[in-house]
């Protein structure tokens, strides 16, 4: 995979001559391939390869981005020269140190040698024996993104990141009732990270447990549900909650209104930064530097070194996710949170791997302390409002806790709480961490970037 870096040099030269105060060029060569098996039938394969360029300029204090995969110098120069500004908002960027670095993710088994089709076929065969499984769709793919970033301040950042991605959808049926689950798997790194056997076991366990809920689950009355005060949340739930009700509201562009008409705003405003969000047990981190994680990156799309960000420390909001523009607004340095899903879209402030930091409780201790309540292991449906003030997680697998022990499954448990009630209710946090893969959407046009969500289990006690 070859990138002609001279195009980036040309971009910076033309931009400087056209009077831009700042310019950057981002070249990306991407290759990906994958396949699908739906209802036991192979549904085709795909392959994609190409190179594109994104240019961002600040000229007359206005931000302009231009992207193309037609890499002829004349057209690129015309686009740069034709921009003179517009009547609108001033753009200023934080001062950052120029970097000249490389980042390459190691891979023992090259993604070009991936055996995804064979692996999906084996999974499909393994699932064929599960009678309750009414519908199954298996999608898997691999890819590699090679990028070169350079800017008018002297930065030059070269990255090569291979990745694996899979989505599995299962619907089980028991009598007239059905239950569904969509699971994602993903890593950055070589194909050795795709443990097909482990994924198969996860799928079998998911189908079996959903069927168990249908077969043996109880339906609680509204009064019984209302009386539940203690809820033990598995990492799948604490993770999605950390992502939705902490990570998103801590994105500085939402706080300052730039996503108001798209991905929404935030309960945080410039006037309440540093507010208490949860109990002192709550610590939430966003860390893109976790090696081989789905949300991994070492340098963001503005050429800034990435680092872990503590969003919530002991229950108090501490740091916002920022790019250079909002770092300037906040009077800080960028913390390297600027990402795009491809060269063709503008980079936005995004999460990476967002999680509830582990505490010191054993899982049994969480159950014991709960005494009676609910153990919410996984969710089906979730959503949250525009300001991220109240969310809902409908239990896929939920179980009654009785005298500190996990008992029969519950079919109709839904956790619907305000953000403050949710995080202030955290009484104990578990020792063990688990991570779940997802795709996070934002922007116009909507961009999906790979993330993980997870962390520790927790006991929440509501009033």
């Amino acid at each position: 995979m070859h990138i002609d870096e001279s195009i980036a040099d040309y971009v910076l030269s033309v931009a400087e001559k056209s009077g831009a105060e700042y310019a950057e060029a981002y070249l990306e060569n991407s290759v990906s391939s994958g396949c699908a098996i739906e209802q036991g039938i192979f549904n085709g394969a795909y392959y994609s390869e190409g190179t594109g360029l994104r240019v961002r300029l600040v000229k007359n204090r206005r931000m302009f981005a231009f992207s193309t995969n037609k890499l002829n110098k004349e057209g690129i120069a015309r686009a740069i020269r034709s921009f003179h500004g517009f009547k609108g908002i001033d753009t200023a960027l934080s001062n950052e140190k120029a970097l000249n670095v490389r980042c390459a993710v190691n891979e023992r088994k090259k993604i070009e040698d991936a055996s995804m089709l064979d692996d999906l076929s084996d999974m499909d065969k393994a699932l064929a024996g599960i009678k309750c499984l009414e519908y199954k769709s298996l999608y898997g793919g691999v890819g590699r993104s090679v990028t070169y970033f350079s800017n008018s301040e002297g930065s030059a950042v070269r990255c090569s990141v291979p990745y694996i991605s899979a989505v599995m959808s299962l619907i089980v049926k028991n009598g007239r009732e059905t239950r569904q689950s969509v699971m994602q798997f993903g890593n950055t790194g070589g194909y050795e990270l795709f443990n097909a056997q482990a994924v198969t076991e996860t799928l079998v366990e998911k189908a079996t447990s959903m069927n168990r809920v249908l077969e043996k689950g109880v339906t609680l009355s509204r009064d019984s549900l209302h009386r539940i005060k203690n809820v033990v949340l598995a990492p799948e739930i604490t993770g999605i909650a950390a992502h939705e009700s902490i990570g998103h509201p801590c994105e500085a562009d939402r706080v300052f209104g730039r996503e108001s008409a798209q991905a929404g705003s935030s309960y945080l405003t410039k006037d309440n930064l540093g507010m208490a969000i949860g109990s002192s047990k709550v610590n939430i981190i966003d860390d893109p530097t976790i090696v081989n994680s789905n949300g991994f990156f070492l340098y963001d799309d503005e050429g800034i070194r990435a680092r872990p960000k503590t969003l919530i420390k002991n229950g108090v909001q501490t740091e916002l996710l920022a790019n250079r523009s909002y770092a300037q607004t906040l009077g800080m340095h960028s913390n390297g949170s600027s990402r795009s899903d491809s060269y063709s879209n503008e980079p936005l402030i995004r999460m990476s791997n967002t999680y509830l930091q582990a505490g010191d409780a054993d899982f049994d201790e969480l159950l014991e302390e709960a005494g009676n309540g609910i153990y919410l292991k996984s969710f089906m449906e979730w959503n949250i409002d525009d300001t991220r003030s109240f969310s809902r997680y409908q239990g896929n697998e939920a179980y009654l806790i009785r005298n500190g022990s996990i008992c029969e499954p519950v079919k109709n448990f839904v956790l619907e709480k305000s953000t403050l009630d949710f995080w202030h209710a955290v009484r104990l946090v578990g020792k063990e961490r688990e991570f779940y893969v997802g795709t996070c959407g934002k922007g116009e046009p909507q961009q999906g970037v790979p993330v993980t969500m997870g962390g520790a289990s927790a006991l929440l006690t509501f009033r």
Partner: protein, 443 residues
């Protein structure tokens, strides 16, 4: 096409799209930034002995295409059979009608676009809004398609879409318009109407959980109904959708019809032919309450012994534009409000998520103004906030079922228009609708 033909493949579909799209973003009542995307993309679909392969050609020079084709041919032998593959559309190919195209959108400048945005912002502010956010997007494209069965044609597209979200105090309102021609959207009028809506009340109050009659304005109504045409696509039907196994059955109010329309002249998503050259058409998905058709490409239609509906998608059929029709749709939105004893006017939703796509169970969150209605009169905006610790209300959520909605949509207003939602991928010609008995929860 020539390179693929030499390889003696069974079916070949090659397409090339050339495009220019400009996105303008409005933040805090000012133009924030402009993003321009130009380029060319290609797609290649080939089959040999029921092995099918799809290639995205991101680099459309001779070397890039040759490399992609070489890799495609190398990978083909390793594939398994797609046992239910029955080929691509064949002659005779009928020519679809022309759609509106606006040359003015080809070279619209950043200056001209920012002038349009600033006019809309000024109109919104002068009519009472205190803050404006939004996007204006203009695009032009040329799509060329050729197949090994002899189809060869091209289609031009142009569009302008605008989405404005206005704020006044604690109330917000968002609306979206779409057109194929520049004159199809009057941003000044759009901003003025939105400002009037966001200013219609400054009173807020709470409601209790329970069943409410709900009026959805066109954008949220279409956003929810679009799930119907997606669920009617044969790929979804085969992998389990809420319409699976219901063909020919009554699934909706007998007054309600839903069409998938790829040919509607003013439709932003319209095209004269689908991805294998079949002429696009208007297909009745639901006709007078009965599920009439699933949406097919040639292969799925052959599999199920029916005709293509012009919805290829080569691997999976896909919907075009949703057109909603209700026999009882002569009344104004005000008349719909007057017909409600206890209800809510929902102006926007987002985060619609299914707990079960097979049954149609979902929940969705009203994002902006939700107006509580009592005895036919608007009373107040439903309160939103984040006062959880004091156990004050923070907002509402609708938990419903698409199939129940289809049966309970009693009437529509006379305000149908083309619109869209940030939360949904697609366009729809949709009126406001009145749905009886939706379950509302309160947090």
């Amino acid at each position: 096409m020539r390179a693929c033909k030499r390889a003696q493949l069974d079916d070949i579909v090659a397409s090339v799209s050339t495009y220019r799209v400009v996105y303008l973003k409005i933040t805090n009542s000012s133009v924030d930034s402009i993003v321009e995307k130009q380029g060319q993309s290609g797609e290649l679909f080939v089959s040999k002995d029921k092995k099918v392969f799809f290639t995205e050609l991101k680099t459309l020079n001779r070397d890039g295409v040759a490399t992609s084709i070489r890799k495609t041919l190398q990978m083909m032998p390793k594939l398994q059979l797609k046992e239910d593959y029955y080929g691509i559309a064949d002659k005779p190919f009928k020519h679809g009608g022309a759609h509106s195209y606006d040359r003015k959108l080809e070279q619209i400048s950043c200056d001209a676009l920012s002038d349009l945005a600033n006019e809309a912002i000024n109109s919104a502010i002068s009519n009472g809004a205190t803050n404006v956010a939004g996007t204006i997007v203009v695009g032009v494209s040329n799509h060329e398609l050729a197949t090994s069965n002899g189809f060869s044609s091209s289609a031009k597209g142009s569009s302008i879409t605008a989405s404005l979200r206005l704020f006044k105090g604690s109330i917000s309102f968002q609306d979206a318009y779409a057109s194929r021609v520049l004159k199809g959207i009057n941003l000044d009028t759009m901003a003025k109407r939105s400002a009037e809506t966001v200013s219609m009340t400054n009173r807020t109050g709470r409601i209790d959980r329970g069943a409410y009659d709900v009026i959805y304005l066109p954008s949220p109504a279409g956003s929810l109904m679009l799930n119907v045409t997606h669920a009617a696509c044969m790929g979804d039907v085969e992998t389990g959708s809420m319409l699976t196994g219901k063909l020919g059955k009554a699934v909706a109010s007998k007054d309600l019809s839903i069409y998938d329309d790829g040919r509607i002249s003013s439709g932003v998503a319209s095209a004269p032919f689908d991805e294998e050259g079949t002429k696009t058409q208007r297909t009745s998905v639901i006709e007078c309450g009965v599920l009439k058709n699933y949406l097919h490409n040639f292969s799925t239609a052959t599999k199920y012994k029916t005709k293509s509906t012009g919805n290829a998608g080569l691997v999976r059929p896909r919907p075009w534009t949703l057109v909603f029709n209700h026999r009882k749709s002569s009344q104004s939105i005000d008349a719909l409000i007057r017909s409600i004893d206890r209800g809510i006017l929902i102006t926007n939703t987002w985060y619609t998520r299914f707990s079960n796509y097979l049954t149609g169970d979902f929940s969705t969150v009203p994002r902006d103004l939700a107006l509580y209605i009592e005895n036919g009169e608007p009373k107040y905006a439903v309160k939103r906030g984040m006062h959880g610790l004091e156990h004050e209300m923070v907002g509402i959520r609708i938990s419903d079922n698409i199939m129940r909605m289809l049966r309970s949509t009693e009437r529509a207003a006379n305000d149908a228009r083309q619109t869209f939602s940030w939360d949904t991928d697609g366009y729809f010609f949709m009126p406001s609708i009145l749905v009886r008995g939706a379950h509302v929860t309160v947090a």
